[in-house]
C-alpha cells in the first residue's frame, strides 16, 4: 500500500466506508421517516465516491501506462469513464428514489398524521 501521507485509493475506500457506516447507523436509529431517507442518501453517496475513486485511481495514471491504455481505449472508441457513468446513473436513481419516497411519506402523513415509522403498523396481524 501507499505511505500514509500519499493520498491513494485506500484513503478513498476508507472514507467511503466510514460514510457508509454512518448511513447504516442513521437508517437503523432514526424514527423519522425522512431521517431514514437521509441515511439512504448517505449510503448511495458512499457508493458513488467508491465508483469515482476506483475509476480515477485504479486506472493507470502514470504517463506511459496512461498513454498505452488511452491508445487501446481510443482504438475501441471508449475512454475509461465507466465508473463515472455509473455514478451519474446512481445520482439519477437517488433523485428518483427520493421523489417517490417523499411522495409515500406525504401519503403516510396524510393518513396517520405523523411521520413516525413506529406508527406504520396498520397491517400488523
Amino acid at each position: 500500500m501507499n505511505s500514509f501521507l500519499q493520498i491513494g485509493l485506500g484513503h478513498f475506500v476508507a472514507l467511503s466506508l466510514l460514510v457508509l457506516a454512518a448511513g447504516v447507523a442513521t437508517v437503523l436509529t432514526k424514527r423519522n421517516a425522512i431521517g431514514i431517507l437521509i441515511g439512504v442518501e448517505l449510503i448511495l453517496n458512499a457508493a458513488g465516491i467508491n465508483l469515482v475513486a476506483f475509476n480515477a485511481l485504479a486506472w493507470p495514471t502514470s504517463a506511459e501506462a496512461g498513454a498505452a491504455v488511452s491508445a487501446a481505449a481510443g482504438a475501441l472508441g471508449q475512454p475509461a469513464l465507466d465508473g463515472m457513468v455509473f455514478t451519474i446513473f446512481l445520482i439519477v436513481l437517488a433523485a428518483a428514489e427520493a421523489a417517490v419516497a417523499l411522495a409515500i411519506f406525504l401519503n403516510f402523513y396524510n393518513n396517520f398524521n405523523s411521520i413516525d415509522v413506529e406508527k406504520a403498523n396498520a397491517m400488523r396481524g
Partner: protein, 185 residues
C-alpha cells in the same frame, strides 16, 4: 485538501447519526454532499462534481427540506429513538465501520492496481495525467453515455418519467378522512 474534505464528510455524516433534529440532519446532509462534490472535483471528475452539486445539493436536498416542512407540525419537533434502539444502531454502525476498516487495511489490492494507482490524486501528482482538461472529459463523457450506455440512458429517462408521474399521483391532495391510526381491518 483531501483530508479537509474527508474530515468534513465524515464529521457531518456522523453528526447526522447523533442529532435528532430533522432540520439539522438536512443541513449536515448538505455539508456531506458538498464534500462529496469536492472530492469529485479533486478526482478530475468536473462534470460529476457539477452534477452532484446541481442534482443532489440543488434538487434532492430541496426535496427533502420540502418533505420536512410538509410533514412536521412544528419545525424542530424531535422524534427520539428508544434508548436501547439508538444505542444498538450506533454500536452496530461503529462495529460495521471497524470491521470494514480492518478488512480494508488487511486486504491487498491487485498488484497492478496498487502499483499503477500509486500515482495518487491525478490533479496533485501528475497534473492532469490522462484526462486533459474538463472539456475533453465532458466530450468523452457524452460519447460514452450516448454510445456504449445508450440503453441505460434511455431506461433512466423512462424511469424518470415514471417516477414523475408516480410521485405526482401519490402526493396528490385527497379528501380522505384524517383518522389517526388509519383504517383498521
Amino acid at each position: 485538501m483531501f483530508y479537509l474534505l474527508a474530515a468534513l464528510m465524515v464529521a457531518s455524516a456522523w453528526a447526522i447519526v447523533f442529532t435528532s433534529n430533522i432540520v439539522r440532519m438536512a443541513v449536515y446532509l448538505l455539508l456531506a454532499l458538498s464534500g462529496a462534490a469536492g472530492l469529485y472535483f479533486l478526482l478530475d471528475a468536473e462534470l460529476l462534481g457539477a452534477v452532484q452539486l446541481i442534482v443532489y445539493v440543488g434538487g434532492t436536498l430541496i426535496l427533502i427540506i420540502f418533505g420536512v416542512m410538509l410533514t412536521s407540525r412544528e419545525i424542530g419537533m424531535a422524534l427520539k429513538p428508544k434508548p436501547w434502539e439508538g444505542a444498538a444502531g450506533v454500536v452496530l454502525g461503529i462495529v460495521l465501520a471497524g470491521v470494514l476498516l480492518l478488512a480494508q487495511v488487511y486486504s491487498q489490492l491487485p498488484a497492478e492496481i496498487s502499483s499503477q494507482g500509486a500515482g495518487a490524486v491525478p490533479g496533485a501528482a501528475s497534473g492532469g495525467g490522462a484526462t486533459s482538461g474538463g472539456g475533453a472529459t465532458v466530450e468523452a463523457f457524452g460519447k460514452v453515455i450516448l454510445g456504449r450506455y445508450l440503453l441505460v440512458f434511455e431506461v433512466a429517462g423512462v424511469l424518470l418519467l415514471v417516477v414523475m408521474v408516480g410521485a405526482a399521483y401519490l402526493a396528490r391532495r385527497t379528501s380522505w378522512p384524517r383518522s389517526a391510526g388509519g383504517t383498521q381491518p
